[in-house]
Assembly symmetry: C2
Homo-oligomer: 461 residues x 2
């Protein structure tokens, strides 16, 4: 098996495993107790905090261990908003943040706060000027990820942090995807991260809050972790998290160029070897190990299943792979194709041969899924609706069927004429315009319909 | 070293260690993913949930894994209160709950809710009738621990659960201290527990919510754990928690009588061998492994320090061992002496010889601490304030000094006369009346003073 989904969760790093096992004997007692076992636990906790703080680039007393990256994000956002409630209740986030950030923003909105979601460019990056323009006098907090978790695009954190600093607004950086690769540049105020993303154990998040940042922890009082993270500390996991972050950083420095090259190879070869594919995300300002592409006329779930059968574990932002049957909000915000979406995120030390085998297998797997779905082949003509404007009724059909049906009839539409696609699948709204962009056709727009929506497409070529 | 503080945190059970290590290889992937590694993780998660649910006595779909017992309590109380907001905003708790419950109650109060803290008897137990009397038409939730964490007294959960059921109020049971010993009796609605208390790893709590109980999870949305516990699951720890709970239950059944006997020996021998000691908690309805006593004229911190030097790790509810310099709220609610307080909680498999050695060492350690503090010895008379009512000025002096000063002058007070003790230490309010009770003197009451309070004591014997 080749596991290409470290952006979801990385296998435990050997250093994490060693540290975890070593500290099971010393790290079970309560570090708040004064007896020998407690003092030993306290030493481990303090040393872990120092090591993690050094890797993050903050002071140890600015760093809190939380039970997960999600807890770090939730606590960080809630605490910073509460600490700055006098400034106002306006929260700025990018449209492509991790769901933990967006869910915290939704909760803030539900409680009467205001949220502005800054759009991104087609690369997935925010425009620093657009982000700065969203800051207001009553903005209590701004959030920006260091790099996107689905497409790997690196965000202009330093520029946005400078704009936030100038506006007097604290910036919380979700560094979950990038912390293994190095500290976050720029003058951030709060930072959140998650150990299992870098090969540390599950059960450990990091929340850094710079001195001077107003912060009022939410929830019932608890004396642990400066009152910022309730509950008995998960010490062996904390020790393993801190130890592995240092080890992973060392390896990452050595591995970055090799993985960057392998991802570059995937970007090029997929575009060459798979027809009707869109490789998304910034080709240059990106994480070294992560690449995402979408395949027209492909069912993402079937694709993942076939890749799994071939020995490759990858993930997808396609709607059919989501429990809510909506496509990834990241791909949606970027305005790129979501059907047949595949995210590949390579582990440190990945074998080049595994990447090569993936590139060899992929075109056949995609072709097989397309064939089973009856996807159009180049030059094939479909059945038309007769003399008038043809109508494709794809109601009740899930991604990628509406796009496949559209592609089948477009050959029958006279150049300059239009076709209407009736669809009620959430992905159609994203994928029909994306198809138009890829095929040089014009997406005229969406009109309300009795069920779902009618997507109007004009044939240009 | 003899570690006698499992009520704080138990060393990792061998079965927990094995399960943790075994699942490090299989349990790092995201159980929500459909590829092989994810499916394996999902199998482990499902199997752990079944095992834990069986031990708790609930259905697997009623059980949620949380990052700690504190999170289970906080989420359980907040979710149940929110789910029952139409019933009202009244919350009933016992006065001797764990701080996680009381802090959640404080937060509810701060948010405008009403809280009733049901007092306990001198044994530490609530009176079921008094508890039932606290339930109102607008009571949204009631909370009661299965057994007290500081004194070991078992609460009448089944009776209180029946009263709650009759009143239509859900009962949340904090079972953190007792789950190792068996399932919680009675018709409870919600249950919280913590794995590191039974020898499982840190980082795992349990929250059970019976079907039919109205529950609305608080905080930002998250799809994990039925929406009741946010963040990536700590799977190896969850596997270890579930496996060790079953193993510990088996051992506990075999160990209960032996530990009950050892604790009984401690209760008897401490009362015999240490002068001026109060053994607290119910002598019969108690946890098998836990006993607490308080020593007059003793500084709890010094006592813990000396016991640590002698190789015994115990904890204390004395004010001098608390970061807030207030005595344990449990001892306060029971109305028992808090100075020189020691809690002994024995691990499964404890060596009888270690308990014997503790009983041999303790009298000398207590005597040494008393000697260094200048505590009164039997029959010694102190200096009086002259002809009138003597005044002991213990302002600025910490527990146990005010009581020591009082004991030194009581011999100079004529029988029937009074003495005033000026004190501003929080423990004096508890310990001066407790001293009176132990010495057969009358505690007349507390009067306001320029600083602190004046405690008036009448000499009867």
């Amino acid at each position: 098996m080749a596991y290409f989904d470290v952006a979801s969760s990385a296998p435990l790093h050997p250093v994490a495993r060693q540290a975890l096992q070593a500290s099971l004997d010393e790290g079970w007692a309560d570090p708040a107790r004064l007896y020998r076992e407690g003092r030993r636990a306290r030493l481990l906790l303090d040393a872990s905090r120092e090591a993690a703080a050094e890797a993050v680039g903050c002071r140890p007393d600015e760093l809190t261990f939380t039970p997960s990256g999600t807890h770090a994000v939730h606590s960080g956002i809630a605490g910073a908003l509460a600490g700055r409630h006098r400034a106002g209740r306006h929260l700025v986030v990018s449209a492509v943040e991790h769901s933990s950030v967006l869910h915290a923003a939704d909760a803030h909105e539900a409680a009467g706060g205001a949220v502005e979601r800054v759009p991104v460019e087609r690369s997935g990056a925010v425009d620093p000027e657009a982000y700065a323009g969203a800051l207001r006098d009553d903005t209590a907090l701004a959030c920006l990820q260091s790099a996107n978790h689905e497409v790997g695009t690196v965000q202009p954190v330093a520029e946005v942090a400078a704009a936030c600093r100038a506006a007097g607004v604290p910036l919380l950086v979700d560094a979950a995807q990038s912390l293994a690769w190095g500290p976050v540049d720029g003058d951030w105020s709060l930072l959140a991260a998650s150990a299992h993303k870098w090969g540390g154990p599950a059960g450990v998040g990091l929340l850094a809050v710079r001195k001077g940042v107003r912060f009022a922890a939410r929830g019932p009082a608890d004396e642990r972790e400066s009152g910022r993270s309730a509950g008995f500390p998960n010490l062996p996991a904390i020790v393993a998290a801190a130890a592995s972050l240092r080890a992973v950083r060392d390896e990452a420095a050595a591995e970055a160029e090799r993985l960057r090259g392998l991802v570059g190879r995937i970007r090029t070869r997929v575009a060459e070897s798979v027809p009707e594919v869109e490789v998304v995300g910034d080709p240059v300002r990106r994480l070294p190990h992560l690449v995402t592409f979408s395949c027209l006329y492909v069912d993402g779930e079937a694709l993942l299943h076939e890749l799994d059968r071939s020995g490759f574990s990858v993930s997808s932002g396609s709607s059919c792979t989501s429990s809510t049957l909506t496509p990834s909000h990241v791909l949606h915000a970027m305005g790129v194709l979501s059907e047949g979406n595949v995210r590949v995120s390579l582990p440190l030390g990945v074998a080049e041969a595994d990447v090569e085998r993936f590139l060899e297998v992929l075109p056949g797997v995609v072709a097989g899924v397309r064939e089973r779905l009856g996807a159009p082949v180049a030059g094939a003509a479909g059945a038309s609706g007769g003399g008038g404007e043809p109508v494709v009724d794809a109601l009740g059909k899930r991604c990628p069927v509406p796009v496949i049906e559209l592609a089948k009839v477009i050959g029958d539409v006279p150049v300059g004429g239009t076709v209407r696609v009736l669809a009620d699948d959430a992905a159609a709204r994203l994928d029909i315009p994306a198809w138009c962009g890829m095929r040089g056709q014009e997406y005229v727009g969406e009109e309300p319909a009795e069920r779902g929506a009618a997507h109007v497409v004009r044939r240009l070529v």
